[in-house]
C-alpha cells in the first residue's frame, strides 16, 4: 500500500478493513451498469459509525472523493467508482439494532440487505413492505439513497413512506440523527426526507429506522393476457375499482420470451402481446368472487383474452417470476435502460406517443417493455445487437433518449422513476427538474458537503 493517502487513512484507522487487490477494485467499483471501467483508489469496509466518520474526515483532509456503496444493484451507475475514488461499502454494517414493539419500528444498520430486513420484520410478526427483485442483494442504505420503489408501491408507496428516522454521516464527517423515529415532528425542515433520494451526494446513511406494517391478508396472484396496450389502463381501472390491489405489473411478449428462455415456467398455453401480473387481497370468498367478476368484465369488454390464477404460494411465485425474472434475463444482452414515469392519468396518451416514437426510432433493435404500470412507471430496455460495439450502441440510444426526454417533459413525467439519476441519466436531468430546482439542489449539496467529496459527478 504505497499511496501516501491510503497510508494516512490506515494510520488514522489502524483497524479499518481496506481492500486494494485488482479483483476487489473491479468488484466494488461498479454496479449493475457495465458502461464504465471500475478504477477506485481502494475499498473501505468500515464496521462502525465512528469509522465512517473518520473516513469522511480523512477524505476531506486529503481531497479524495468517496462513493457510498450498498449492494451495487443500482441501474444508473450511482455506485460506480471510475475516477480514483474511495469506495465506502456499508457491507459489514448489516445488523438489526433495535425493535420497538410500541412504535412498530425496526432500526437497522444501512448495509443490511432488503431481504434480511424482511426476515427480521417477519420475526416480529410484521412486514417491511418495500419489495423488488433485487431484495437479496440491495441494501437499506441504497434503497434510501434512491428512494427505491418496487412492486408494492401501489399499496404501500416508495421507501420514503417507510423511514421513521435516519442516522447519517454528512459529507463533512458530522453525525446527524434525523427525526429519531418520531411520527409527529413539526420543528423545521425535515432533513430525513432530504436524504431520501439524495443518491449518496449529501451524506452516508449509516442507520435507518424502518416503519413496519401489519401483514396483509392472504392474497391471490393472477396472470392476465391482453390484446393491446390500450387495454392496460382499462384493466387497471376495472381491477382497482373492484379489488384491493397489492401489485399491478405489466410486460410484453418479448419480455416473456426472454424470461422463459431464462428458465421460468409457462403459465398460459397461447401467445399474447401483453401481460399483467396482479396481486390482490383475497381473504374471503367475496374477494375471490370480485376478482372473477373483474376478469369477466374485462373479457366481455375485449380487454383480456386469457388468464391464470395461482392455487398455491409456489404457483404464485412461479407467476411472479415471469415479471421479476425479466431484469436478470435481459442482463446478458447489455440493455440500455429507461426507467420513466408519468401520472397515472397521463399513461394512455403517453404510451401511444412512446410506442410511435420507439417503433420509428429503433426499427433495428429489440425493445422490451415492462414495469410498474400501476404507478405510471415503465421500464423500457433496448437490447444491444451482438454485432454492434458498445459505444456505438449507446450513442444511438442516447439520440433516442433525447426524444424520449422531450416527450416526457410534455407529459410532465420523470426521466428516473425509481433507479436514480446517477451517471446514466445525468444529461437528462433538465427534462424533469427546472433550472431553479437544480440550482437549489446544488446549494443544498454545498451545505452538506462543502468540499464536494461525496459522489461527485453523479446526479448533476
Amino acid at each position: 500500500m504505497t499511496d501516501p493517502r491510503l497510508a494516512d487513512l490506515q494510520a488514522s484507522l489502524p483497524n479499518l478493513r481496506l481492500l486494494t487487490e485488482p479483483g476487489d477494485l473491479e468488484h466494488y467499483g461498479r454496479d449493475w451498469t457495465r458502461r464504465w471501467t471500475p478504477a477506485p483508489l481502494a475499498i473501505a469496509l468500515p464496521s462502525s459509525v465512528e469509522e465512517v466518520q473518520e473516513v469522511m474526515r480523512w477524505a476531506n483532509r486529503q481531497g479524495v472523493a468517496v462513493v457510498p456503496s450498498g449492494g451495487r444493484t443500482g441501474l444508473s451507475g450511482g455506485a460506480v467508482a471510475a475516477q480514483g475514488e474511495l469506495v465506502l461499502s456499508l457491507q459489514r454494517m448489516n445488523r438489526a439494532l433495535a425493535f420497538e414493539a410500541a412504535d412498530r419500528t425496526l432500526t437497522v444498520q444501512a448495509g443490511m440487505t432488503l431481504q434480511q430486513a424482511h426476515e427480521a420484520a417477519r420475526g416480529h410478526g410484521l412486514i417491511y413492505p418495500v419489495d423488488f427483485a433485487a431484495r437479496g442483494s440491495c441494501s437499506i442504505g441504497g434503497n434510501v439513497a434512491t428512494n427505491a420503489g418496487g412492486i408494492r408501491v401501489i399499496r404501500y408507496g416508495n421507501t420514503r413512506e417507510w423511514i421513521a428516522g435516519l442516522k447519517v454521516v454528512a459529507g463533512n464527517g458530522e453525525l446527524l440523527e434525523l427525526n429519531r423515529g418520531l411520527i409527529k415532528n413539526s420543528s423545521g425542515y425535515d432533513l430525513r426526507q432530504l436524504m431520501i433520494g439524495s443518491e449518496g451526494t449529501l451524506g452516508i446513511v449509516v442507520e435507518a429506522t424502518l416503519k413496519l406494517a401489519e401483514p396483509p391478508p392472504p392474497s391471490q396472484v393472477m396472470l392476465l393476457a391482453l390484446p393491446h396496450m390500450d387495454a392496460l389502463m382499462q384493466v387497471f381501472a376495472a381491477f382497482r375499482a373492484r379489488l384491493s390491489l397489492q401489485a399491478f405489473e405489466f410486460f410484453t411478449a418479448l419480455a416473456l420470451k426472454h424470461v422463459l428462455a431464462h428458465g421460468a415456467q409457462r403459465a398460459l398455453d397461447g401467445d399474447y402481446p401483453y401481460y399483467v401480473v396482479c396481486e390482490f387481497d383475497a381473504a374471503d370468498e367475496a374477494a375471490r368472487d370480485a376478482a372473477l367478476a373483474a376478469f369477466e368484465q374485462a373479457v366481455e369488454q375485449g380487454w383480456v383474452l386469457d388468464g391464470a390464477i395461482a392455487q398455491s404460494e409456489a404457483q404464485a411465485a412461479a407467476l411472479w417470476r415471469l415479471r421479476e425474472g425479466i431484469t436478470e434475463s435481459l442482463a446478458p444482452h447489455r440493455p440500455y435502460k429507461n426507467d420513466i414515469s408519468v401520472r397515472i392519468g397521463a399513461v394512455p396518451a403517453f404510451l401511444h406517443e412512446m410506442q410511435a416514437l420507439l417503433t420509428q426510432a429503433y426499427p433495428q433493435f429489440e425493445v422490451v417493455w415492462f414495469g410498474h404500470i400501476g404507478d405510471g412507471n415503465l421500464h423500457i430496455n433496448v437490447l444491444k445487437p451482438q454485432a454492434l460495439a458498445d459505444a456505438e450502441f449507446i450513442a444511438q440510444c442516447e439520440q433516442v433518449t433525447k426524444l424520449l426526454a422531450a416527450t416526457l417533459q410534455r407529459h410532465g413525467g420523470s426521466i428516473s422513476a425509481e433507479h436514480g439519476i446517477g451517471l446514466v441519466k445525468r444529461p437528462y436531468l433538465e427534462s424533469t427538474r427546472s433550472a431553479a430546482e437544480i440550482a437549489l439542489m446544488r446549494g443544498v449539496r454545498q451545505v452538506f458537503d462543502p468540499h464536494g467529496i461525496l459522489n461527485p459527478g453523479k446526479l448533476f
Binding site: 415456467q265 403459465a267 372473477l292 392455487q311 411465485a317 407467476l319
Partner: protein, 249 residues
C-alpha cells in the same frame, strides 16, 4: 373407458409458517392461506393427463370436510375434473376414516383407478392410499413418479429408498403420487367460469354408514423446541473446554 377418482384435500399452504394456537388445541388457520395438498394437485394433474391421452373418460375429485370445502373442490373442477364429490363432515378426519369413506365412494362409482397423494402435508400420515387398497382388496402402487396405463394394467415407477422401482399392477388399483410425477398446471380463469356449472355431489358423511373408528385422540399441539443459538469459540482449546463442560468429551 375408465373413470378416475382423485383425492383432493385442503391444507395450510406449504409455504406458510405454521403456528400453534396458544392454547395448544391446534394450529392457526384463520387468515392463513389454504391450498390443495401439493401431492393431491399432482394426483389430479396425472388424472387429467391420462384423460387427455384418451385413457380415461371421467375424472372425479373427492373431498371430505366442512361445508366450505365446496369452494376448494371448485378449484379442482376449474383445473379440469369433470365433477366433484364433497363428503360433508365438521369433524377432523383421520386416515382410516378417509379410507373407509373413499371405499364407499369406490363401491358406488366403480373407478378403474384411484389416485391419491402419497401423504397430506398437514398430518404427514402416508396411510390413506394403503388402507384404501387393503379395504378394497385391490393392488397398490405408492410413491409414483411415472404412470403408464395399457391393457388393463398400470406400470408404475416408484420412488423408493434404494432408488427407483418399476412395478405393474392390475386395474382397478390405488396409485399414490410422489413429487416428481408431474408439474401441475395453472388454473385458467375462463375455466373457473366454466367450473361453476360442473356438478358437485354433497353427501353427509353420516349417511354413508362409515364407522369412524377414530380411536386416536389428539390431546395437545406444541411447536418443536427452538434450536438454541450456536456459540462461537475462539480456538480449539476453548472448544475442548466447552465440550468437556457439557460432558461431551
Amino acid at each position: 373407458m375408465m373413470k378416475i377418482l382423485v383425492g383432493y384435500k385442503r391444507v395450510v399452504d406449504y409455504n406458510v409458517r405454521i403456528q400453534v394456537k396458544p392454547d395448544g388445541t391446534g394450529v392457526v388457520t384463520d387468515g392463513v392461506k389454504l391450498s390443495a395438498n401439493p401431492f393431491d394437485d399432482i394426483a389430479l394433474e396425472e388424472a387429467l393427463r391420462l384423460r387427455e391421452k384418451g385413457l380415461a373418460e371421467e375424472v372425479v375429485v373427492v373431498g371430505i370436510g366442512p361445508s366450505d370445502l365446496t369452494a376448494h373442490l371448485r378449484n379442482g373442477l376449474a383445473m379440469g375434473a369433470n365433477r366433484a364429490i364433497h363428503v360433508v363432515t365438521a369433524d377432523a378426519v383421520q386416515p382410516l376414516t378417509a379410507a373407509r369413506t373413499l371405499l364407499k365412494l369406490v363401491e358406488k362409482e366403480q373407478p378403474g383407478l384411484v389416485i391419491l397423494g402419497k401423504q397430506a402435508i398437514d398430518d404427514d400420515a402416508n396411510q390413506t392410499g394403503q388402507m384404501l387398497a387393503a379395504l378394497w382388496d385391490r393392488p397398490q402402487a405408492t410413491f409414483a413418479s411415472k404412470v403408464e396405463i395399457a391393457d388393463g394394467k398400470a406400470t408404475v415407477t416408484r420412488e423408493v429408498d434404494a432408488g427407483l422401482e418399476v412395478i405393474s399392477v392390475d386395474l382397478p388399483a390405488v396409485v399414490t403420487s410422489d413429487l416428481r410425477l408431474n408439474e401441475p398446471r395453472f388454473i385458467k380463469l375462463p375455466d373457473i367460469m366454466k367450473a361453476k356449472s360442473k356438478p358437485i355431489d354433497l353427501i353427509e358423511l353420516a349417511t354413508l354408514g362409515v364407522d369412524s373408528g377414530d380411536h386416536l385422540k389428539t390431546t395437545h399441539y406444541a411447536a418443536p423446541a427452538k434450536r438454541s443459538k450456536g456459540v462461537m469459540v475462539k480456538d480449539a482449546a476453548e472448544l475442548v473446554a466447552a465440550l468437556k463442560q457439557k460432558g461431551l468429551l
